[in-house]
């Protein structure tokens, strides 16, 4: 046996993972890369500040009679998730804008898709990367608030009276995460520049909201809310959390509008995520 370690090429005879799990490799690598970035950590810390405020509110209402009026209600959880939308927006831009755009800039798609993984797995990996962080700033703090309420109150009375809050928080957070993640990934697949993607995303959100307000003033109809994702999400939140009152559009119409947005995002991703871009 040679005393010198052979640094030449050697064949590999080890185990290979079964197909269908590559999306997790992409998601794990994406998450690890993102949480090393200082700006991402800063955004995530900021996103938990509203949770701290709400936690103090719940603690105070449970322990001091003078501020009992601050006691949590189902509306509080809906408001909390509504407030988190600003962080959903920021996280989507900071983490999501470059997810596919950076790969397109570095010609990484041909590397990815020459490996034994499908385009669906690639998109799923990217979706999980963004979706996991969005879940971290929406579903997780909302559920923790529910747990804190039980701990501070010392009883499960509130939860048993409002048991629907668990599926409501989960469902609305899932809608928030899916809509934002799909829309951002679709935009990210359209460009090689993450800055341009971020501008497109912000532009679309603000422009559609402004457009809705303008059309509402002109036509005196709130049906135009369907073109504004922000207002559509508000209708869906009210529906899921059983908030009574007038809605800009019917709940089913809001669900259809969100479905159309996700379907359009999937259509864009199907066309743009390819190993080779054919220009004819």
């Amino acid at each position: 046996m040679s005393p010198i370690h052979d640094q030449g090429y050697r064949r590999y005879g080890g185990r290979r993972e079964p197909e269908g799990r590559r999306w997790w490799v992409i998601a794990r690598a994406g998450l690890m890369a993102r949480i090393r970035e200082r700006r991402v950590i800063a955004v995530l810390l900021a996103a938990w500040l509203p949770f701290l405020v709400r936690a103090v509110q719940i603690y105070a209402s449970a322990n001091f009679q003078q501020v009992a009026f601050l006691a949590p209600t189902p509306e509080m959880f809906r408001e909390f998730l509504g407030q988190q939308e600003i962080f959903v927006f920021i996280v989507s831009i900071v983490i999501g804008a470059g997810l596919i755009a950076d790969d397109r800039r570095a010609n990484a798609l041909q590397i990815y898709l020459s490996k034994p993984l499908t385009r669906v797995e690639y998109i799923a990996g990217k979706l999980v990367t963004l979706g996991a962080v969005l879940t971290f700033v929406t579903w997780l703090p909302a559920m923790l608030l529910l747990i804190l309420q039980m701990l501070f109150a010392g009883s499960t009375k509130f939860l048993t009276e409002h048991l629907f809050l668990i599926p409501a928080i989960t469902l609305f957070a899932a809608v928030q995460v899916l809509v934002s993640a799909f829309a951002m990934l679709a935009l990210s697949s359209l460009s090689k520049s993450r800055r341009f993607v971020a501008m497109m995303y912000a532009g679309i959100l603000f422009f559609t909201a402004a457009m809705y307000q303008a059309l509402r003033q002109i036509t005196l109809s709130t049906a135009w809310a369907a073109i504004s994702p922000r207002d559509t999400m508000s209708v869906i939140a009210d529906g899921i959390f059983r908030i009574q009152g007038t809605r800009a559009i019917p709940f089913p119409a809001a669900v259809v509008a969100v479905g159309v947005l996700i379907a359009a995002s999937i259509w864009i991703l199907e066309r743009k995520v390819r190993g080779v871009e054919v220009v004819t």
Binding site: Q7, G8, Y9, R10, R11, Y12, G14, R15, R16, E17, P18, E19, R22, V25, I26, A29, A33, G98, D102, D103, R105, A106, N107, A108, Q110, I111, Y112, L113, S114, K115, P116, L117, T118, R274, G275, V276, V278, T280
Partner: protein, 305 residues
């Protein structure tokens, strides 16, 4: 010799442009060069075999697996070194190559170990902790080879592997490719428009032109077509002299300025060239016996280069 890749009447069209037209060929095991001028359809063929491009018609198999029905099984057994720069942004070399290994199905620890090994093998051992984006063109070529090798494929597709490399780097890359093919028992298909690269590394060649196969076979047998090759330079009406030679059934290709390469069959010799020159009223200023090269094969198949 068993074939590793076969194409049966494959056509690929981009809009109105045919990139591959009714191509039927087989790539034997070992090192095979895919040779042709730019736009001949080499990269399209590789991208079709990888499943990136859907052929308009025809069937393709790689390692006895149908490209249309088993793309993932094929991709787990092949390595692809693309022509363009390609890397995963924000990663250093060892992370990038290990990541590619995991994407190809290697367990995490094995992928990391293999990444170190192949980076040493391709000559990037000392630079393996540097971010890939800071690499020179030559280093980027090497890391593309490393990511193609990390999962130990049975077949390597190398698309213009020496593009943009300096002469020393190019020689080292060719040495690596040759070593992979001849000493490591790996099949490879090297696509290039550079004749010396193919001649140095490959045993077989498939010459493509305008989306079709111009010629194919073992390089040695294609070169040794019987007869001799002469380098000839004449003074006078060169075109008439060439026309007379071609009229007499001799292959004749101009290679640089007024020097031409003439293929003389066994039943004739150099005297015959002098005789034709005298008949056409031109002076032979230079005549030297040469050996057939892949360039001659290419010129005969595709036309003057």
């Amino acid at each position: 010799m068993p074939s590793v890749v076969s194409l049966d009447r494959v056509s690929v069209r981009y809009g109105r442009q045919w990139a591959l037209r009714d191509v039927t060929t087989e790539f034997p095991s070992g090192a095979v060069g895919l040779l042709g001028p730019n736009g001949a359809g080499k990269s399209t063929m590789i991208k079709s075999l990888l499943g990136f491009v859907q052929p308009t018609q025809g069937q393709m198999t790689v390692l006895d697996l149908d490209v249309r029905h088993s793309p993932l099984s094929i991709r787990s057994r092949i390595g692809y070194m693309p022509e363009n720069d390609g890397h995963i942004p924000g990663m250093n070399a060892v992370s990038f190559v290990a990541y590619c290994g995991q994407l190809a199905g290697l367990p995490r620890a094995d992928a990391m170990q293999r990444a170190h090994e192949v980076l040493y093998y391709v000559g990037l051992g000392e630079a393996r902790y540097r971010n890939v984006e800071t690499y020179s063109t030559g280093m980027k070529q090497r890391i593309k080879l490393a990511q193609a090798l990390v999962h130990d494929p049975d077949l390597l597709f190398l698309d213009e592997p020496t593009n943009g490399m300096d002469p020393k780097g190019r020689d080292e890359m060719l040495e690596l490719v040759r070593d992979i093919a001849h000493n490591k028992g790996m099949n490879l298909i090297l696509s290039s428009h550079l004749l010396p690269d193919v001649e140095y590394t490959c045993d077989h060649v498939i010459v493509m032109d305008k989306g079709q196969i111009a010629t194919a076979g073992p390089i040695e047998s294609l070169k040794g077509h019987g007869g001799r090759v002469y380098e000839v330079r004449v003074k006078g009406e060169c075109d008439t002299f060439v026309a007379a030679l071609r009229g007499a059934g001799l292959d004749c290709h101009t290679s640089e300025e007024d020097v031409m390469r003439v293929f003389v069959p066994d039943d004739r010799d150099a005297q015959y060239l002098f005789r034709v020159a005298a008949e056409q009223g031109v002076q032979v200023r230079h005549l030297r016996a040469s050996v057939p090269t892949l360039e001659d094969v290419f010129a005969r198949a595709v036309g003057d280069v």
